[in-house]
Point group: C2
Chain length 400, copies 2
């Protein structure tokens, strides 16, 4: 596949192409969560963390949640998949693509996204999945009309299976993140965030906007392979809107952050973080963008407990069903003191309007049950901490 | 408190009064769930039910979900509470009401709603709660600025505690459902459903509207004490929009349905249904409306398993966090063959556009974990059943 230059103009072109095929997902606000983010953590909450004994930061935020959990197939991945497929059709012609098809190796959201995009254009989609995938996942992919090929579980075995499919069918590989057309497709959500926040701020004086509408100041997004984060960074480059990365720190899952700190891309990650969409290292294209400070201003990481705490808040207070990977941005805003101190210093007095990307909602009640089963009682009480009328973080049972 | 007549015009007046204080909650659609509702159940699924051996019905639906789980305090109850408080202020004057306050006995959503409404007008709110309420619920009510009074757990003990508060403070009792001002307040959501569905149908040709926009044909809502259902029925009376009731059948929780069938109000209900907001019998006002066929066209009930199945679909497919009481309407549409056969007979070929009220989202991950912990494996597989590309209900992992 050829591709367009990695610029905002290309993201705008991508948006025009994919718009008929995707949902324009809502941007939601939540008074409780914005207040909580704008309230210092207690010194108790910092005990046992790297910030123990420090004065908790006091940043101000208005949070704008981009709900890609409401996107088709339940995740942002359809943006890149539709864009890549449409570009392929433009390049080769629909007949040729229908003859040869597309292929990817994934058992996750990208596979579902590619299957849907292919089905929309009556193109065969070959999905290579490990033999050990859960039956419901295999059935789900087949129900989307995709042709499932089984492989072993290692990266080598999966790549060999893909090579075989290509040899047999001539299918084109649509990679999950490290391709400019994928990056440009994912970046389209940044255009929607800017527009939707603008609309919300203009239409709603309750949000405390005075005089000119300032719009969005920053966006924070989860980073796994980095396709979405790079796309957002490309879309917002030179617009004055700052872009930040959020990752899980568990077992070195913050490979992008560590790589940027060390000045060298980390190419292998082995983490079993609950944020299972973010277990992947950066690719070549995504590294180039994400390691450039003029694109991504800062990279932050959060703990597994931070992710669970944030997830509980999003489910119970916002009433939004999200997957763990989706909340690492919110977790950073709420619990990462480095990020909070930076915002306290850099933001104007009224704080930042920040876009927070909820990347997807593809989890199950079963998975959530398991995730929260081993939380000790003490932590549970802390999890319930929300802002009280006295301005401290206390228990409360109130939405938006 | 005096009150207006129970008419659509009164609901419109109520709406004008409360609109500045409540969220206009969204109406959401979901392709997967509308398709599932428009697909016959399998004969296997009917085994062990009262419909075993019968031909499954084949109705057509477009579902429009009114998401009161996104409402302030996470439930529709703020509508009635704000309306009752504003009417009280109009009648007595704000100074008088600020002196004496308002009172209710509830540990649930109505208490939270009344506390919020009272706080908005700097009125003291007295909430009588059983001593055995969970600490987080007590703290939550206090964090809303309410004055919590403790009582024993029986209805008599709670009423005695309320009488004492009234004797001491002169506070006005705001009952949770059986009062015209509460009923009129809850009914306001029906006006929004009509308007929002109209907007959706006009703006979206994908929904398959041809020629004139027909709008909504019916609304189905959960029925506990019946405040919300009566309000909706009053708002839609003589408009041509049919109103239906949904209840849990467990341990006689379908008291409204049974009462209407027998021609006499059932005044005591003892059920531990997971739909814990619907454990209440009808009151005098709500019975009068709900037992009148010109207001509520039919009453239906669903099993605990139906509720769990529907809840799983709403969380995992729609990505909406709802409480069990909220999904009895959807459960009726998906699983109650009496309802489905009736729609198959009564609806035009293209089916019904039906408003489905999600009444609230106030549950916790803990509660959901407990609820799904005892589901046998076999049932789980059935729960995962969703519409496949072959038109049968099979496993799939795709959001709207």
């Amino acid at each position: 596949m050829s591709h367009l230059p990695l610029t905002r103009a290309s993201v705008e072109d991508a948006h025009a192409l994919i718009q008929p095929h995707i949902h324009r997902t809502p941007v939601l606000t939540n008074t409780t969560l914005s207040s909580l983010a704008s309230t210092p953590q207690t010194t108790d909450a910092l005990k046992g963390t790297q910030w123990e004994g420090q004065q908790p930061a006091n940043p101000k935020f208005k949070l704008f949640f981009k709900c890609e959990n409401f996107q088709k197939i339940g995740a942002f991945k359809v943006r890149g998949a539709f864009h890549a497929v449409i570009r392929l059709i433009q390049e080769r012609g629909i007949e040729e693509v229908r003859k040869s098809g597309v292929v990817t190796h994934s058992s996750g959201n990208h596979a579902q996204a590619l299957a849907l995009a292919a089905k929309s254009f009556q193109i065969p989609a070959h999905i290579v999945m490990p033999k050990i995938s859960t039956p419901s996942k295999i059935a789900g992919t087949q129900a989307q009309g995709a042709i499932v090929h089984f492989s072993g579980s290692t990266a080598q075995e999966r790549e060999a299976a893909v090579a075989e499919v290509i040899a047999q069918t001539g299918a084109t590989l649509i990679p999950p993140y490290d391709h400019p057309n994928i990056i440009l497709g994912q970046g389209t959500m940044a255009l929607e965030i800017q527009k939707e926040v603008q609309e919300l701020l203009q239409g709603n004086s309750e949000l405390g906007v005075h005089g000119d509408v300032r719009g969005i100041d920053a966006v924070i997004a989860p980073c796994g392979g980095g396709g979405m984060l790079s796309g957002i960074a490309v879309a917002l480059h030179d617009t004055g809107v700052k872009v930040f990365s959020a990752e899980p720190s568990f077992q070195g899952g913050d490979d992008a952050r560590r790589g940027v700190e060390a000045g060298e891309r980390i190419t292998t990650v082995k983490t079993l973080t609950i944020a299972d969409g973010l277990r992947t290292p950066l690719g070549e294209y995504t590294w180039k963008i994400i390691s450039d400070k003029s694109y991504v201003k800062g990279l932050y990481a959060v703990t597994e407990q931070n992710i669970k705490d944030a997830m509980k808040l999003v489910l119970e207070r916002m009433k939004c069903f999200v997957e763990p990977s989706a909340v690492v941005g919110l977790a950073t805003i709420l619990y990462n003191e480095n990020f909070r101190k930076m915002v306290e210093q850099e933001a104007p007095e009224e704080g930042w309007n920040i876009g927070v990307v909820f990347s997807g909602g593809n989890t199950t009640i079963d998975a959530i049950t398991k995730m929260f089963a081993d939380v000790p009682e003490e932590t549970k009480e802390r999890e319930e901490g929300v802002l009280g009328s006295d301005g401290k973080r206390v228990a409360e049972n109130v939405a938006g």
